[in-house]
């Protein structure tokens, strides 16, 4: 099986999961892609020009398209009225695959169904504008019947969705059109990257969908948020994401799902945060400790955020210390 979206192909060649739903390889530098392509696609060593690398991928993927026996796509929208599916791409990779292979398969979650073809006017505009800011995706393809001599299959996936529909507080999340806007705006996602979520759909929407699939496994995700509400502000289908994050916290805590580390951590944080002197002292201690402790003390089972990524370098001083030095007692 060959992934054909350029970003998806890059991370497939690296044996990695995607980190973003619209830009799967956004965490990689062009130097890393250049080195990968040099090894796998035999591009020139040290070549990093995105144009050159994209051209190499174009040749490589065209070979695969021409040989494929079946093409598998996702679905952006399915239309109840006409019984067809709509697939949107900018690269044209879905169309290259589907129209060349004798068998085409479209895989979709059951929530992708919209009532009428007229509703596509609303959704195609929403999707492109919120995903990349374009007025429309370059290719908006409508599939209703197989090509002459070919076969077409539509696979409708439940995977917990029908159950999720029965949760009044959370069912709104099924309106998601996977535009990625909530990720692009989220201060946590932007600092930590998609891999720290350890799920297929990362970011704010992933943090409210994953607990519905497996609360035990993903109970920490709703806590990794500032509840700033930026995600709910940008969401084109108006999912109350930050409110759902808050509600998932209540459920996780109520079911005793708080891991022991978090429970103690919360108690300790409450203690420290209510005592400014203790807070200053702990801050100083942490800044020094992060610098001096050996790796295994920082990156261990107690630190979830260090599992798939490096922690940032701690600053030399706190804001308070900086302010005291630079601003206090100084004439304006």
């Amino acid at each position: 099986m060959t992934d054909t979206d350029l970003g998806e192909r890059i991370i497939q060649l690296r044996d990695e999961p995607p980190s973003h739903i619209v830009l799967p390889a956004i965490h990689l530098k062009k130097e890393e892609v250049g080195e990968l392509f040099h090894q796998k696609l035999h591009t020139e060593k040290g070549a990093t020009d995105p144009k050159y690398l994209t051209e190499a991928a174009r040749h490589h993927l065209r070979e695969r398209f021409l040989q494929a026996g079946a093409a598998l796509t996702g679905v952006n929208f399915a239309i109840a009225e006409t019984g067809g599916v709509v697939v949107c791409t900018n690269e044209g990779n879905a169309d290259m695959g589907v129209h060349l292979a004798p068998v085409q398969i479209h895989c979709m979650g059951l929530e992708k169904i919209i009532p009428r073809q007229a509703d596509l006017g609303v959704f195609t505009r929403l999707l492109a504008r919120s995903a990349t800011g374009q007025p429309i995706t370059i290719f908006t393809s409508h599939h209703h019947r197989p090509k002459p001599g070919g076969a077409m299959h539509i696979v409708i996936v439940d995977n917990g969705r029908s159950e999720h529909l029965g949760r009044p507080d959370f069912r709104n999340a099924l309106k998601c059109i996977r535009c990625g806007a909530c990720m692009n705006t989220c201060p946590i996602y932007r600092r930590s990257g998609g891999h720290s979520y350890d799920v297929a759909v990362p970011g704010p929407i992933g943090s409210i969908l994953s607990p519905g699939i497996d609360l035990k496994k993903h109970s920490d995700l709703p806590f990794a948020s500032t509840l700033c509400g930026s995600c709910s502000d940008v969401c084109p289908v108006k999912i109350d994401i930050h409110q759902q994050l808050y509600k998932w916290r209540q459920i996780a805590a109520g079911e005793g799902r708080l891991p022991i580390v978090k429970k103690w951590g919360m108690a300790l944080a409450g203690h420290v945060l209510s005592r400014p002197r203790a807070y200053d002292f702990m801050g100083k201690l942490a800044r020094r400790a992060l610098k001096m402790l050996p790796r295994f003390m920082v990156y261990n089972a107690l630190n979830d955020w260090g599992k798939s990524r490096e922690l940032p370098v701690p600053p030399a001083e706190s804001f308070k210390e900086w302010y005291r030095k630079n601003k206090m007692n100084k004439p304006e």
């Binding site: 062009k30 169309d95 209703h144 029965g166």
Partner: protein
């Protein structure tokens, strides 16, 4: 989980929603001069516009825009190109097409997209697999926005139809925009 139990679960859990709204026409949103807006949008999306009236015929226009192009596949009546599409055994044989010329029944002013179906393409893969894509569109077939487009087009009239709004592009490597990802490298709309 069987199909039956999934459908049962949906029926049981489905909330009682409000009735389907009538879609507004969004006419206030529509560009005032659709033709000018369409031309501007095609350019903004990375395509180019050619004026049929500036050339004696389509052949002359094609030679002016793609000088030296030796493999032209056309489905435009009266302009056969030089690749006999009718004789092609499989879509994969179109891999060598340099330029595809296809009639487009509709254009959309707000985003520079054209609607094309398998009826116009002969082979569904033609507009994608060709190195370069040219579509021929009548000036009086430009609709204002996607809402109007979905009123005029019947999406299941043929087995496949697509809105195309420019050349294939990607920004997957360090978010640098590159034109010419998997499908056609350039997009030319001929207005007649």
């Amino acid at each position: 989980m069987s199909k039956k139990s999934i459908l049962r679960a949906i029926r049981q859990n489905q909330p009682q929603g409000p009735p389907l709204p009538d879609l507004p026409s969004f006419a206030s949103d529509a560009p005032e001069a659709p033709l000018a807006a369409f031309q501007a949008m095609v350019t903004a999306m990375g395509g180019q516009v050619a004026n049929a009236a500036d050339y004696p015929d389509l052949g002359a226009l094609v030679s002016a825009y793609f000088p030296g192009e030796t493999s032209v596949a056309s489905t435009v009546p009266g302009f056969p190109g030089n690749i006999p599409l009718q004789n092609m055994a499989s879509p994969a044989a179109l891999e060598t097409v340099g330029l595809a010329v296809i009639p487009a029944p509709w254009g959309v002013a707000e985003n520079g997209a054209v609607w094309v179906t398998e009826k116009e393409c002969l082979f569904r893969v033609l507009p994608f697999i060709a190195q370069h894509l040219m579509v021929v569109l009548a000036k009086d077939r430009i609709l204002s926005n996607m809402h109007e487009a979905y009123q005029r087009v019947q999406v299941d009239e043929t087995g496949f139809g697509v809105f195309i709004a420019g050349p294939s592009k990607t920004a997957d490597i360090e978010q640098a925009l590159v034109i010419g990802a998997q499908a056609a490298r350039s997009f030319t709309v001929v207005l007649e």
